[in-house]
């Protein structure tokens, strides 16, 4: 499901931040096209 897909990453400062998710997605073969870390507070 991630492999060869374009991935939008919406990380959370208080949860999993964007860069951490990016690393996971790359290891699964997905291509991150946009990554951000939001603060939902």
């Amino acid at each position: 499901m991630l492999k060869d897909k374009k991935i939008i990453v919406l990380g959370d400062r208080d949860g999993i931040p964007g860069p951490a998710i990016d690393e996971c997605i790359k290891s699964a073969g997905g291509e991150v096209v946009f990554s951000t870390t939001e603060c939902f507070v």
Binding site: L2, L10, A28, G30, F34, T36
Partner: protein
Amino acid sequence: MDLENQQRIMDLSEKYGAENLVVILGGAEAEASGLAAETVANGDPTFAGPLAGVQLGLKAYHIFEEEIKNQIDPAVYDEHVSMMEMVLDVDSIVQEVKNIREQFCK
């Protein structure tokens, strides 16, 4: 969701097509994660941003969901995600994002 991010997501959806995009969330709690999933699927429920009334139909998954987790290198997952998995309410986050997907995505 941040208004600028809504615009970016709308632009990317036009560029790549919704069927080629997957949104991965890292939200710390169920409500915020569900809100983000709803925004990219059915439009901004707060009617504040560019996605107000725009149904992109994008599928959003939380990184905690088994079907996502299973595809990630376990060592990488352990290094970056496992610690937060221990302190957050994984079940309610996963259930909320799944509910939104079932409600709004085909």
